[in-house]
Symmetry: C2
Amino acid sequence: MKGMKEIFENINIDSWVQHFLRSPHQFNKPHDSDAELIEIPGNSHHYLAVTIDTVAEEITSGLYQDPYTMGWVTVMACLSDLAAVGAEPLGLVVSASIEPSRDRTFTNSIARGMEDACRTLGIFILGGDTNITPTISLTSCALGLVPRENAMTRRGCKPGEDVFITGGLGIGNALGLVRLTKLPSDYFPEKIYRPVAHIKEGQILRKYVSCCMDTSDGLLTTLDQLMRLNGLGFVVDCDWERILEPEVLELCNKTQTPPWLMIAGPHGEFKLLFTISAKVADKVLAQPQFEGTNLIRLGKVQQTPAISLALPSGQSVNIDMAPIRNLLQTVGADLEQYVREFRSIGKKLGLE
Amino acid sequence: MKGMKEIFENINIDSWVQHFLRSPHQFNKPHDSDAELIEIPGNSHHYLAVTIDTVAEEITSGLYQDPYTMGWVTVMACLSDLAAVGAEPLGLVVSASIEPSRDRTFTNSIARGMEDACRTLGIFILGGDTNITPTISLTSCALGLVPRENAMTRRGCKPGEDVFITGGLGIGNALGLVRLTKLPSDYFPEKIYRPVAHIKEGQILRKYVSCCMDTSDGLLTTLDQLMRLNGLGFVVDCDWERILEPEVLELCNKTQTPPWLMIAGPHGEFKLLFTISAKVADKVLAQPQFEGTNLIRLGKVQQTPAISLALPSGQSVNIDMAPIRNLLQTVGADLEQYVREFRSIGKKLGLE
């Protein structure tokens, strides 16, 4: 959008996309949806939803230390993209590129993490590829079907609509905080970080929502991306007890960490964020099919393209996510400087 | 098969697969086909064909030095798997994990290689993912549809059938030889290595063949794999002028390289190898739809599970591919020793 600072990641994606002719059978445009939506010859009712995701930086940076987490997240990241378009999964394929020094226990644990993530959701790994590489990277590609008239995208929200999430926030950034600030692991054990893709929720929501995106990159990055795509803004009701997971809140209290970091950091939790007409929200979301889903009202869509944090103090603060989203590259991947500058942005805004 | 030495790569794949429950909607078993074949709900006529492939070792080992080749092969490797099951491609997604030190020229060239490979075949890149990683790896995942009754697999050949390939062999191993023996690049310029997936040929052949596999890992590895799956062997008519590409033959002559290395090495050329009833082969393959395809009769399926090379000298040699396929691991990835031991196997067999 005009007047907004560009996001390096979006520029990078566009620099790839500019080389590629667009398929005439593709429904979505670049950035428009969490999974690609493709017409299938002979099937006028569904799109094939397909998405690919690599987990690598999270491992080489030391964020994930347990191979089981590595496998689990590789699979869930892709399945969450399917969830965010409302697809019914057909399965997935995986490619594991692993260092020669790793032993069988390590690769077995990755495989079990992948498989357990799939079994949690009744989904199957269909096949894959393995390679020996100097540094690890794990890729998965997930496939699904979604009814054409109900496929969810990131576009379509309107001012005044309600914003919801399908569960509490912060487990991804809590783990990130523990690693970045070198806190002992037991402050937030890695095994708490077992995000589950909200496949079932996506399939129910697809009939009602105006737009949907998963929070794989953290809440505020998700909202920033939706703001840029829709030309609208969001008010976030920062009622921390209500929107953060209990373990995350506990970590914040124990370590005197300002809770805004748990929604501003880039390591998300794979919940679905969606917008829905305020008129029907209560009625729709009270349906028995949402039983077991922790739907949380997060705030509102607003006309002004800004992310406004409505703080517990009663104050409202507009947060510009561009410098935060670009920060890792700005500091040249120096993680100590990253944490320092991240928090200094918070201080300037009165969030710390 | 009983009595045969195990292949490390197959053991490795099985060690992953053992963790994974098999989808009740998957037609193929592990190892059985170049792409996974999956039932699509509501479509009783087609399988969804899906395959994932990572190109990494070929780059980090210095085999590919031109980023355009890296992009090209990443895409073609997957498309060739679709070709080998006879699928009609729906498109592909890519994931590029690249070192932070690489500049825009480098990534642009990868993207152009990917796109040009796709355009050669009228196929589209649907989306993807990018990451910054300590070492490069490029993954693609391709999707297609194939009529259920005509999907080709690696199983089904019968003794006495003819074996064909859809074009001349050796460009992959020729490039490999130049790199491994440190010959000047102009002996076999990397840009000669632009394999094209035989998508059209696969779609025609699927009606007639008894089994099919691409030669991505070189001819003899392909035959060895088919031998293990079918419990049958193959006679290869080693008429080098007829089965090797002219540039490959020229390299062999110029450098006094024994031509068997061009079919025994592990870096293939993405031709389709297929078996077909000898009774119908001539009639089927003379059809006008094969115009423009260089179909080469390679040999025969034999009852004995052995790969028999019928040499120009009139001699016949049985080659055990297990020590060759396992060699890179046996020598601990020492490339000089690899070349030495590879050739000493040839000397013992009288192939050098």
